[in-house]
């Protein structure tokens, strides 16, 4: 009983801080726009853009100097009246598709996008082939030997018995 209580207590001790605390924000209050709609759009765009310094973080998550500059730039473009796509195009024109955390679908990326589907299909085919072969091997037809096979078996067994006697 006490042990169960200890487990419960330590689970809560780990879970509560994780659930209650807010994730640390890289976005500084002084960068934020006063217009909450624009700010929301800025956050959305920032989550799509890769920080080139840290590479596996979005600029929304990164504390890098360049990420900060790009966040400010995104907000400036929004205030200037760009729609989300125009802002993203503006950054892509300077840093390339690489800044997009979601690679766009175009001829250069067909292999990238198709490979998971192709792999799943290949895996399903392999599983299918495996079970089909297994069920065929276990079928009654292959349980009994053909006349040729029986003759060959007898011959082999006969030979080995003879060998044993010699």
């Amino acid at each position: 009983m006490t042990r169960r209580f200890t487990v419960l207590f330590s689970t809560l001790a780990i879970l509560i801080p994780v659930l209650v605390s807010n994730p640390a924000l890289a976005v500084n209050p002084d960068e934020m726009l006063s217009n909450p709609v624009l700010e929301e759009r800025a956050r959305e765009i920032s989550k799509e853009l890769r920080c080139l310094v840290c590479q596996n973080q979005s600029i929304d998550d990164s504390d890098a100097e360049l990420a900060r500059d790009l966040r400010v730039l995104v907000r400036e473009r929004l205030v200037a009246g760009d729609d989300n796509e125009e802002v993203i195009d503006y950054i892509v024109a300077r840093y390339g598709d690489y800044v997009l955390l979601n690679p766009p679908l175009k001829p250069e990326t067909y292999i990238l996008w198709a490979s998971p589907v192709v792999l799943v299909v290949l895996a399903l085919l392999a599983v299918f082939a495996f079970y089909r072969r297994k069920s065929r091997d276990g079928s009654p037809a292959s349980e009994s030997l053909s006349a040729d096979e029986q003759a060959r078996l007898d011959e082999l067994l006969g030979t080995s018995e003879n060998d044993g006697k010699n």
């Binding site: 080139l52 310094v53 590479q55 100097e65 360049l66 500059d69 790009l70 730039l73 892509v92 024109a93 300077r94 840093y95 390339g96 598709d97 690489y98």
Partner: protein, 178 residues
């Protein structure tokens, strides 16, 4: 049938090994520039404190091949590559321009050049880093080779080493000069 199945892992292994072999020397932190073979962005930067001439796109479109080196006094690799930028300026036979990127204090760049020597024909001061962004700069130092019409022909990310200078930059400049 059984033979062909047994060969699949071997084929996969060879294919993967091939992919790895091709990429073993590649630095995954280097992002290919989209600006290669595109005109350099429009910009006009103020001079360093106490100097007359800043730097603008017009400096890059005089009909001569030129080099634009992005540097900052706070950037340690810039200090490491600086002797080679001087060599590039002496041996390349083309003007080398400096883009002084995001100094905390405008004087820092001047002091740095006074200490280490100034190989640049002209230096523009990019305190906001906005011109840097227009050039797709994501890590100083970066070095651009630009042809006489202002088209970006090559970009090197990271410090210039002796190998980079002798095997890439100088030949590339010679080739562009024709």
């Amino acid at each position: 049938m059984r033979f062909s199945l047994a060969v699949i892992p071997l084929i996969l292994f060879v294919a993967l090994a091939g992919v790895f072999l091709l990429n073993i020397d590649k630095d995954s932190s280097v992002v290919p520039s989209v600006l290669i073979d595109k005109p350099a962005p429009e910009f006009s930067l103020p001079p360093l404190p106490g100097r007359d001439a800043g730097l603008s796109r017009a400096d890059l479109t005089t009909g001569n091949v030129s080099v634009l080196n992005v540097f900052a006094s706070w950037c340690i690799p810039c200090r490491a590559e600086h002797p080679l930028i001087k060599r590039l300026s002496r041996e390349g036979g083309v003007p080398v321009f400096g883009l002084n990127y995001k100094e905390k204090n405008p004087e820092d760049g001047v002091k740095w050049l006074a200490e280490l020597g100034d190989p640049y024909k002209a230096v523009g001061m990019d305190l906001s880093g906005r011109t840097g962004i227009d050039f797709g700069v994501y890590g100083v130092p970066e070095t651009f080779i630009i042809d006489g019409t202002g088209q970006i022909k090559y970009k090197h990310v990271g410090p210039v080493t002796v190998e980079v200078l002798e095997q890439i930059l100088l030949p590339k400049i010679a080739e562009l000069k024709g």
